[in-house]
Symmetry: C5
């Protein structure tokens, strides 16, 4: 359940803007890495103290400060003070129960996203909150733990390949968002395969495990939906926001992210549709099988109950039962039984029960 | 049912603007408390008479008048007269069947909210209506009973911690709304836990109590939704209203409340989705179990009915039944029965019924 | 069915604007009452002829002409001619199959509403169409039969209590609408109680009468919805229409009616949600009970069928059945039967069937 | 299926604007009738050749050209050439698979509608496509076959009654649309009656024919919906279009048609709601009846299986069965059986199965 | 599953704008054909090298470059360089997981569509992605494999029939889109026939194959919907886009495509409605048949179980059973059995079970 609702109750009664970490602690110690670059320049370092980030604040080069681990609230608070960030924003960064959202604070834009990965062990989708702060010449990103989704971007900056070194902080923020959205496709493929497997089972041999699998997939879809739907709004607003922080040339890239988001949502909806269709099929299959079971019972009972009755009659001990004395009584009784049985079978054949 | 619809019929035929208390009387006697503060000043008192509130009306300091208990309509009417409030507004304050709403009367803004708490004894969510009147330098709040949700705010004002003493009446109104919305998260966590428990039962051992629990949770969701959905509109309008009563700096805080409201609604919708998925699972489980029961019956009946028939045949009293005379007749009959039984079992094995 | 669709086919082929009465005739003879008032003046009379209304047309005082009974089309036509009303409007007044609607004809505003009452005998909600014409200084109201919903307003005008004598024709029209909307709450309470009763039955003892009751409640909800939903639009348009006929001071009252309408709609939707939840519970209960019935059958059959088979074996008449000769054969057979029975019971206990 | 989708595949690969008749041929030979009128003038004739229509093109009087039968594509093409109509429009006229739509071509407005009638023999709703071309002084209407829906309008023009002779071509077009929409009410009444009948059956004696009837009604609703829903948009756009072709005075009549369309749609939705409620009831009834059947079986089996077992015991042929020798053995056995039977009945009474 | 989600994971980590082919390789080698025409001029050739396309870039005539096969990414890249296309666009062309979309890049418009065809062998709808680039005087189209949908257009250009040679590149792009949308109708007819067949089966003899067929049709509908829904938006935006690339005269043709798209969507929705209605019928039929089976069982069991019990009684071996000694004992017992049987049958007749 923690997946669907975070223990926000810890915060009740505190003044707004009090940063309280809500969520799981995923790594031991927070880690701050700084990448500073311009078209012809590149510098990468790990900060021991938060204060080391400060000199980059007003440098004309693009600076990317990445914080892994948000449970050390004092670090977040110091960053907030150094970069002059609104307290409500800091509160949101450390509360992992946010929905994806985007807020324009004028000097900087604040973006919250969900990074998703499929946990093969627990067979479920897990989410990690990523917050981005985009200012004119720096991007600060906050992650719950060290992830590898951003590594290719680091590589690209380092190697100077592609457009990234030539563009500003907005393009960097876009690249981070793009990397996150792209990673959703992997989740969707995984879930798509599971849906396919479950559908196969449904056709060949539906059991109550199939039902459980369907239920789990539905839950994952609810979770995915909750994590991705608001993103559409976020990117769409980013595209339309009239902020000096976002260059025109970057807009076309944001449109591309928007497009990907729509495709993700589209696929989630398609999967939901398919899953609910599969549940119908499951229910129908159960009913069908019940029918089959009942038919077997009915056929057997309907044939043998009357026959047993006849046998019962001639098992009575009345003194005067003339049939019992007949020489052909026994074969005649057997014959009558066979005839009744055959008639029953013909009837069932006719009714298409056999 | 009182929870879903209040006895508004009492009011039928009365002229509009007649304040009639509709709802339960929750405390004995209404209680008026006044808190008056400025950045460097703080005063708290309890009013014995309504008239004691009047001097605060035009004081430049921020005044918070809180009335616990709205069943004493004459108090509400006096307040209305003293502060020159519209009669329709007074009518709304004492009628606890309102939906959350916001109305801009020019000189003051009227806000109706629902305060929710989870009643552990009755295992259901209970609502209390809170009305706020926000004017340029005072806030009047009306509650049905004394609650502890506003206590942390009182503490903050008293202690002078945080921003609150430096800000105006709009920030106070925001703080009250924020406190109420924050308290929703506690309800959601409680319900989330119950949903999780019920889901657990569903998997291990679904009974008709599980069904009842599902039904109750669904009802609570309907109730929650009814109480919280309109709030979204309320806060959104507050944010966009162009009123001199709300300062620009407060807007960002209202946006935060809006955000929280959206998260609450989002979670309610997620819970609803999950509950309806759980009902499907419940129904499927029942069908599955019925199938299992039917299979047992069918297997037993299908094996023994033919055998009993054979036994019946040799229980007949015909004079001439040669088999009865055979020395190996009895063992042969038993053997035939065993063979038939084994064949049946093999058939069931093949059909995957066993 | 007449409740859901009126015999509009009578009108097919007639030129537009031909007034044809469609609906039930509810009273014998139409009755015209006139109330004329100003702040310090009050006059009430019953018109024998339609022409008696004419002098009030241009009087500066506010005039309320109420016509009970719309089946006498000639009266409606005369009114139309006297007050210069559009023929399409007259057609709508006498056709009781209208949806609530509002049309601005410039000099006057035409409003159609549904007055609802709960028929205790037929246990269903019945509707009556009310049409209002609001001009600058008069209101004409058309009802299908004499109703008592407007009586409190008459009383208020007569007694001069409240605001009504001081306000214009728009306030009178508002008062009529308000009276109608207020009366919806009584219906909702009635239906709420019935839903509660039905829910109680559902928990204690669901029968096919409960199903029928659910179905009837659902139908009533469909009917209510059809009657009330469009009202939202009507009031909302009235509020926003820029007509000289509606004063600014009246707008706040219209907002109040709008608010009530929303609450009515909200409650209807809540009831619908609850009813559909109840149907799910009903279906699940039936399945649960079927399960219980099947279990009893299965337990009894599964225990006794094998035992009867054993009895059948020793009822066979083979010459050589050594067990029959044993002295302890009979007690041994009984013992075996008891053991089998007990084993079966243990098995059922284990499977949690008992 | 032809009802739901027309064989549009005939057209694939042809250049746009190629008129190909798609649909059934409903009459033998197309028929062109011309009515030309002004306030004081009336002329009616049947055209043998298409060219006879031409002189009316620029006459100041209002001309109504009606073509029954659209399968003779060459006629449509000639009309198109004479009146200078866009080829895409001609293509639409002869393709009966259109949805209702409205297109403004500047000099003329093109409207497609569906004329519906209830086929008593096939017990289904059938549709016929009607296309209207409204120009400043003429209206051309295209029907698939000769229908009688327009006859009252012809009569009204001929007799000069009502407004029609005084108004322009736009009023004529409105009259035709109004006649079509009015005819929908007849269909709705017919279907309403059938729904009522089916509902009656549902309560008294639901069979699989009832299910079939429900299914057919649902299909008809889907068909009706498909035919009428787009009309709402059509009329609404017509009302708002700023075309010189439509006079202000006609707008109020269009609003009336809009109103009727809304009522038709409203009723269709209500019927759909009712039908889906009825299906739920049907399913519940089946379950209820299955329950009843199972109870009978269970009661009979549960009472007699144990009794038969006891009888079986005393039918065993063991040498030493002391009870068999007792004088009161037989009555005692009977008594035991009666006691067991009565206990079972009491149990079923207690469980409310009887 | 590949049908619903493409392996987009290949792309994860790559910089945006990297063209990677995602999808099946459908033909061996890409093929480039060029058609260049003006009103009085026509030239058709097949390009061996991509560079051969370049001279047509700035020719005043209309040029249509068609590329069959998009798996040869280097060709797409060269085209991109020659015609100065945005890298994100190239990425989209080779990734067949796009939804239909339209993007205006100023100098050119980029359109993605889905070409559908019904695979008779696999009995499912298959999709192929078609991308169009519309510039002022050329159109570039990308297909996954050689298709015959565009052949009639080639023919029309060659023969000079119709409007196409007189119009610009926008009309050519429209023609391609129109050809694709028209081809949807064939799919719909095919699916319509299958729905009809399945519905027939449903009425006459529903089996679990019918269920499977329903499920498959539902899946196809989900797939179709996913492929066609976004097209509505695409065409609608194209119609409204204020681009110099699209002439006014072409707009009316786009409106026609829009209209067709709406009809396709409409039909898909109708089919979905019908399929979900059919599933309900299927479930009800199963329940009905189960009922029938249970009735047979119950009737047989209820009649014979009591009779067998009576036979069992007189099969007991008590010494003193006076009835056994009576001369008419046996016939009397038989008579009692017949009476009981007949009473049972009458009871079943009364209960309408027979």
């Amino acid at each position: 359940m923690l997946k669907f609702i975070k223990k926000s109750s810890k915060k009740v009664g505190l003044p707004p803007g009090t940063p309280i970490h809500i969520g799981e602690r995923k790594i031991e110690k927070a880690r701050i890495t700084i990448i500073d670059y311009a078209e012809a320049q590149f510098q990468e370092c790990e900060a021991k103290k938060v204060e080391e980030c400060f000199p980059f604040k007003d440098k004309p080069t693009v600076t990317w400060i990445n914080i892994d681990g948000i449970h050390q609230v004092e670090i977040i608070e110091k960053i907030g003070k150094l970069f002059d960030l609104h307290p409500l924003l800091l509160e949101d960064i450390v509360n992992t129960g946010q929905r994806p959202k985007m807020e324009d604070f004028g000097d900087y834009i604040f973006i919250v996203l969900k990074m998703l990965h499929y946990d093969e062990k627990d067979k479920e989708v897990k989410a990690e909150q990523v917050s981005l702060i985009l200012a004119s010449n720096f991007v600060i990103s906050f992650q719950e733990s060290e992830g590898d989704v951003f590594n290719p971007i680091r590589e690209r900056i380092k190697s100077g390949k592609g457009r990234i070194r030539k563009m500003g902080a907005d393009y960097l923020a876009y690249s981070l968002m793009d990397a996150i959205v792209d990673s959703y496709f992997i989740i969707l493929e995984k879930l798509g395969e599971e849906i396919e497997d479950t559908e196969g089972e449904l056709v060949t041999n539906p059991t109550s495990e199939t039902l459980q699998a369907l239920h789990n997939l539905k839950r994952e879809m609810i979770f995915l939906r909750k994590s991705v739907w608001p993103l559409r709004e976020v990117v769409s607003v980013l595209e339309r926001v009239e902020s000096a922080l976002i260059n025109k040339t970057t807009l076309i890239y944001l449109r591309d992210v928007y497009d990907h988001t729509i495709r993700v949502i589209d696929t989630i909806e398609t999967f939901r549709d398919m899953l609910s269709g599969m549940l119908d099929i499951y229910l129908s299959s159960i009913s069908n099988r019940m029918n089959a079971v009942m038919k077997v019972l009915t056929i057997i009972a309907t044939i043998f109950i009357p026959l047993t009755f006849i046998a019962g009659i001639y098992g009575m001990n009345f003194k005067f039962m003339p049939e019992l004395e007949w020489h052909w009584g026994y074969p005649a009784a057997l014959l009558v039984m066979v005839i009744i049985g055959v008639l029953m079978l013909i009837y069932f054949k006719r009714s298409e029960w056999l």
